[in-house]
Amino acid sequence: MSHWRAKPWAGFFAVIAVFALVLSACGGGGAKTTEQPKTTAPTAENKPVKGGTFTFAETSDIITLNPAFINDVPSADAAFFINAPLYDMDNKGQPIVSQWSLAAEPFQVQNGGTTYIVKLKPNLKWSDGQPLTADDVAWSANVIANKDLGSPLVSYFDQVKQAKALDPTTVEFDLKKVYAPFVANVLMGAWVMPKHLLENVPVKDLQKNPYGTDPAKTLSSGPWVWTKWVQKQYLEFEVNPNYWGPQPNIQKIVYKIYADQNTAVQALLKGDVDMFNGIPVPSLPAVESNKNITLVNQPGPSWDYLGLNFKGSNFPQFGNQSPFAGIKTRQAIAYAINRDEIIKQVIKGYAQPIDSPFLPTNWAYKAGAAVTYSYDPEKAKQLLAEDGWKMGPDGYLYKNGHRFEFTLQYNTGNLRRQQVSAIIQQELKDVGIKVNIQALDFSTWIDQWINPGKGQAILLGWYGGLDPDNEQIFSSKYFPPNGQNWGWYTDKEIDALWEQGNSTTDITQRKEIYAQIAQKISTDLPYIFLWQLNIIGGYNKRVHWQPEDAPFQALPYAYFWHIQNWWVSPQS
């Protein structure tokens, strides 16, 4: 699913931190221009100028900038400045050749979809002046695909049989089978490593190599080079003098680390940083009232869900059967939860309800394909009765002598989920279902409950990636511990559709298949789909862009959309 973007949108489970906001009348669709550069000082502000420093805030330090081991958003954000992608993306997330892509022309698909030919630009260079060739690209892909490396990206390369350099500017990727997400995962998602520096490092030792942690030993294929890392404090990037593409305007980028979101917001307000993406909703009023800050407040790639477990052994007190087994019971739960009200009360409106795992901001979304469950407690009660639940004397429903009762888990410290779980508890009580709430430390939760497929119900989120494939979440081929189908959901028809979806390369056909999945999955409800969250970015008005280069939130890294073209006013 999701996260296909080797750039780790991986925090996935960790939707923890990112909250969001609402946006305007945004229903769907890609890039939205936010505010244009103000015309207060027409000269410097409308015409790009070279030079200057752009400082942005992050709430975590990087782990490594070695492309083979990047698995967290902070590291990916930093690596973004020093890596050129094979293919760039347009504002809908589709692959394109651009002035910044390593590829010189669109890829060719051969052998019915199992071979991809990529033609590179002829003048590519690493920041040490060495040429970047098809050899680097093929070598990187083969190394990451090597199981002995232990790369977290290995699943993206799972279907890659081998990559070879046909000549210095031509790479051939041979796949094991037709696999459409390969384009988003590898051609758009993966970054290249310098073969000439690393080919003699044994694969098992690559994770311990200073490539990626020592700026002096880490090369750049992108517009900036990494010049400095003061751990836990900041990183610095400067224009890459050996860059093969157009020189960016901004001379220096500072990645500044703050202890938490609130500290970062204060720094944005004060003007210590020029940008912070991930402003918490409660801080929004203070940011809005600051005249120096432009907000980019739009739906991002993350969404929340209420996961239901179908494995009987997780419900010993219910006769080792899942109370969620009946489809009408699941639909009743969907009707009993007032998503609009929760969005209004808890998320202050900064989210949109969703009915399937296909976000309105993704190309695979088809309006009206999925079933919508509007708040209707009476309907919920009726469906529960139809499914055989009988009201007991204590005000809760019973079936076969067992009370309808389950435990809902979320991660400690996530205020949004804490509040949402309390409301769900109350709303389900109103229709006769008893919900017990359990908050768990994130690592413990993932390790002891999520990975092994234990627990009864969860409040969690995913980051949706570029490709709409979600097979690993919903297919019975991916039960724990081998995949992320945490709830042991099984539907052979849906299994087959996912497979069909990712083995079709034609995008129109794929879109049709995903519309079918949306219809089926929203009827069957392995999850109760909740909402797509807004992400709120704040940009100081000294940062400028042309309308077509305006940052947005729906795609990975789009908060740095075309940053190569941005420019900054001199520091006041």
């Binding site: 699913m1 999701s2 996260h3 780790p8 996935f12 489970f13 400082t55 975590s60 330090d61 782990i63 490594t64 698995n71 967290d72 199981k147 002995d148 232990g150 790369s151 977290p152 290995v154 699943s155 993206y156 799972d158 098992k204 030792d205 994770q207 311990k208 190599n209 200073p210 990626g212 942690t213 751990q231 836990k232 404090q233 900041y234 500072v254 680390i257 703050y258 202890a259 938490d260 609130n262 500290t263 204060q266 720094a267 307000l269 004060k270 210590d272 430390d441 690592s443 413990t444 993932i446 390790d447 002891q448 990975n451 995913w462 690993q472 979440i473 511990p481 081998n482 995949g483 992320q484």
Partner: protein, 322 residues
């Protein structure tokens, strides 16, 4: 004294060894691990297993402990798991940053609290004493992070007199810049520490001033100033010194919340981050530094007793301090 010191140091080493065994076991027993965080959709446990193997995390915990101990005895804290950075390179700078912040606030708090406590005790329920009570209540009850945010709002955002956060301005490392950045966090920490020390020194002085020998001194006509500073103060300081010894580890461990509010790159914050990341070797290094400070703090307190109170003799022949 020499023999006493040797005995205490040997005891301390034993304590540190036991602390290391227990902490190592506990830290490794926590669910999850450095590689678990890598998991995401499509990443099978196989990847986690390969990484654990490449990083040596799949070996039995006792073996891992012995490896760690071996490195430690050679003065090496080991390496982080996820990115193989030397732990010393991460821990020592943050410890330094914490010490700068904490010792400054600690010393300032003492310089204010002890004279204030003495003065209050000699004029019980006077203006200074009542003011001290108010400061004490505020210091005890006000959350440090909240006070920190208030100071930031007013002095950094509104008035712009002081920097909002961080230890240095970008690109500067001079003392003036550092001091300027320290003003707000030090103010917070002084207020928090002040409350305790003020109460201790005042209570301790009051107790001593009511002792018979003080009354005797006054009765035989010793001037009040001499009574307070000569007769009472030395005895009154003993409990204060005990508290100081116990607080030494706090000076090192840092104040995670205050550090977070002011984005001070200290060890308190580091420990919290590394606990979430399950970076075992960093956690062990910090745990051992704090344990060493606990041991050292106690030792220093005992030695200070001997200096303040000649009745206390350290060593084989003498009575041990309390």
């Amino acid at each position: 004294m020499g023999e006493y010191l040797v005995r205490r140091i040997l005891q301390s080493l034993l304590v540190l060894f036991l602390v290391s065994v227990v902490s190592f076991a506990l830290i490794h027993a926590a669910p999850g691990g450095p590689t678990a965080i890598f998991l995401r959709p499509g990443v099978s446990p196989e990847v986690q297993r390969i990484q654990a193997h490449n990083l040596g995390l799949d070996r039995p915990v006792p073996i891992q402990y012995l490896n760690w101990l071996g490195l430690m005895l050679r003065g090496n804290f080991g390496y982080t798991f996820k990115n193989h950075l030397p732990v010393a390179q991460i821990v020592w700078p943050t410890l330094g940053n914490t010490l700068i912040l904490m010792t400054t606030s600690w010393v300032l708090a003492l310089l204010i609290a002890i004279p204030w406590g003495i003065y209050s005790s000699t004029r019980q329920y006077g203006l200074a004493d009542n003011a001290g009570s108010v400061v004490g209540y505020i210091g005890f009850s006000m959350p440090a992070f909240w006070f920190g945010i208030l100071l930031q709002m007013f002095f950094a955002l509104k008035l712009g007199w002081f920097p909002l956060s961080d230890m240095h301005s970008m690109g500067r490392s001079d003392l003036g810049d550092l001091v300027w950045h320290m003003v707000l966090p030090v103010t917070v920490l002084v207020l928090i520490n002040l409350a305790g020390y003020l109460k201790y020194s005042r209570a301790s002085m009051l107790e001593v001033l009511n002792q018979d020998y003080v009354r005797t001194a006054r009765a035989k006509g010793v001037p009040e100033r001499r009574v307070v500073f000569r007769h009472a103060l030395r005895n009154a300081l003993i409990p204060v010194v005990t508290v100081l010894g116990l607080d030494l580890p706090i000076v090192v461990a840092g104040a995670a919340l205050t550090e977070a509010v002011f984005n001070w790159p200290g060890m308190g914050q580091l420990f919290v981050q590394m606990a979430f990341a399950r970076e075992y070797s960093v956690l062990m290094a910090i745990t051992m530094i704090i344990a060493a400070m606990v041991v050292l703090g106690n030792l220093l307190a005992d030695i200070l007793y001997a200096i303040i109170d000649p009745r206390v003799q350290l060593g084989a022949g003498g009575a041990e301090a309390r």
